[in-house]
Symmetry: C2
Subunit: 344 residues, 2 copies
DNA sequence: GGGCCAAATGATAGCGCAATCATTTAGTCT
DNA sequence: AGACTAAATGATTGCGCTATCATTTGGCCC
């Protein structure tokens, strides 16, 4: 493509802008990065040159020279799981406002994949990282620690965080759910689990602990699968649990709301009345849970707030301000709704 | 922090690796970027040095020197709307496999925000862009065109794409839905719309066109709101539509499944029987629609495939191969389920 | 065995910007 | 008015890497 004008298609650089504005390159740089260090007159002049040339700074050059990327690396285990939507929204919200870009990767619930992704992320020289949970490979943890940047591990409370930690105890939440069901007079409490990632495992361990504490044998009350969770799968697991438990169970704790909704819809098709014949409890409290009929008892988790808090913490760490608490318990709340009855 | 070893905390560079491996810097660079151009011996030697030093390449330096970012910029209107999850999954999948990073921004359904975000994105020198729809500001379009990189506008079919385009006709889909309802004997067809972004507008125009073609007055059959869509809102709009239409409508076309589910759940609470008293149709065909009772008639859209196709197209364009079709109609399918009855 | 070619490796330069330090200008005080 | 300070602006240099071209090495042919 030829151009008769002098507007070649070569990239516009700082120097070009400086030439047009009749100033030095560094002044242009200042107009962009520290506008208050430049006089009004020059600032206007330079801004005009920037606009007329359509100048866009080259972040690579900038980052290379300043050793600052303005990037926060984020690793989540799944893009399909809507649970992470809200977390991401919080992260993007806070990061964006503070002038940080977010580089997001999906680890597909695999520590090995995660290690590879973290490598990729680190080569972008992120100024901080937000990652999910604590089951990184040893190599991955070393990489992260060696990076010497603020790190938040989010979603669950960890015994030995790499750096900072925002989350809640999934074990305790599982324990609490079962306790509530026991209080309401249930005794034969089933458990449905899918994907079985570390957090689901914790919920299940909480379930088992509470059952053990109540002296109830749970051996025939559990169905799990490593498959990714879905409403469809919830229906299947429900059928399978009803079959294997010979129909004696009086309630089910589902490891998440997808499974619980699947179970609920399937129970409707099987003409099993919820909660009269069976109480149902989910986890995460997604929007549908509140509106489905009967409304679904679930564990509400402040996901958006978790994203916000995680991001605020890394940004605070970057600003050099002291961090009050390296570990933040963001909490949760068991919300009893109509899918669980009082069986006493 | 002092270190007695010679492993200072200074960043490890290519030169350091080269020194340890006893080769020149450029050879290390080749081991990383064009391994087959280096002899086995040296490659192993260098790899050992890389591993022992924990070297991670600095992408900024690399990108600056090579003028290649290996980044694809992606702009979507909302992180909370699960519809984009599937699209993103497709994008990340294909991009990741081809060695591209994805830089994602959320435009909050605002062209102005989008323009700002596109600016940010462009300063990262993405090699290609995937953006949503066609309602960019004029300035934004100019920026994009000036960037001279492959661009896909996805989600809807556009009359004048900036470059490439992957999507389907929301107008036609709206028209088709109403046609099916008419065929099934419905005449008083309502419309519920939220957010009213360009694609929802198109669906509504399709609805109106089909109603006009059938000679049916739709004036009192429409409720819309600029608020973001949700199940809760679906319930509210449903009540409002039932009130304003004086209960004469025999079916409702909801602009998406969230609204439809909200309407369905609310109708259950209001003891309105679906589909006996009222047919209900959604849009997008999210997973819940298939499993809710009664199952929800909806318009199935290949979202994952849309993400995949969009990304494949930009990558193909980047590889210099010719593009068969600059515009791809990804299609859709009206899936009739139990929430719509045959009223004839 | 001399000459030739391809493969392997290296030396040099520069990508576009900001850190650093140097210089100029304007402002203030006595 | 002179001396000093702060604010504004500029010159130089290098961030870590890769493109480009130059050089070396080894293999092979007649």
């Amino acid at each position: 493509m030829r151009s008769t004008k002098n507007t070649t298609h070569k990239k516009v650089t700082l120097v070009d802008v400086a030439a047009v504005a009749g100033v030095s390159a560094i002044t242009v740089s200042r107009v962009i990065n520290q506008p208050d260090k430049v006089s009004d007159l020059l600032r206007r002049q330079v801004q005009a040159a920037i606009d007329s040339l359509g100048y866009i700074p080259n972040q690579f050059a900038s980052s290379l020279a300043s050793a600052k990327s303005r990037v926060i690396g984020v690793a989540i285990p799944s893009l399909s799981n809507i649970v992470f939507n809200d977390v991401l929204r919080g992260i993007y919200e806070v990061a964006g406002k503070a002038g940080y870009k977010v580089l997001l990767v999906d680890t597909h619930y695999s520590p090995l994949e995660e290690e590879k992704m973290v490598r990729t992320l680190l080569s972008q020289a992120p100024e901080a990282m937000i990652i999910t949970g604590g089951d990184q490979t040893r190599a991955c943890q070393q990489l992260l620690q060696k990076a010497g940047i603020p790190i938040v591990q989010m979603m669950e409370l960890l015994d030995q965080p790499l750096d900072m930690n925002v989350g809640f105890s999934h074990w305790q939440a599982g324990y609490d759910v079962v306790s509530k069901l026991l209080e309401a007079g249930h005794t034969r409490i089933g458990f449905m689990g899918a994907r079985m990632d570390p957090r689901v495992q914790q919920r299940m361990l909480g379930y088992k602990a509470a059952m053990d504490a109540a002296g109830i044998d749970w051996k025939n009350f559990i169905v799990t699968t490593p498959e990714p969770s879905s409403i469809a799968l919830g229906g299947e697991l429900f059928r399978s649990l009803m079959a294997s438990s010979q129909g004696v169970i009086d309630s089910i704790f589902c490891c998440n709301d997808d499974l619980a909704l699947g179970a609920l819809f399937e129970s409707q098709r099987m003409n099993i009345r919820i909660p009269e014949q069976l109480s149902l409890c989910g986890f995460n409290d997604i929007e549908a849970s509140q509106f489905v009929n009967p409304s679904l008892t679930s564990v509400h988790v402040p996901r958006y707030e978790m994203g916000v808090k995680s991001t605020e913490m890394v940004i605070r760490a970057l600003s050099g301000k002291p961090i009050e608490e390296k570990q933040v318990n963001i909490g949760y709340e068991v919300r009893l709704r109509k899918s669980t009855r009082n069986a006493k």
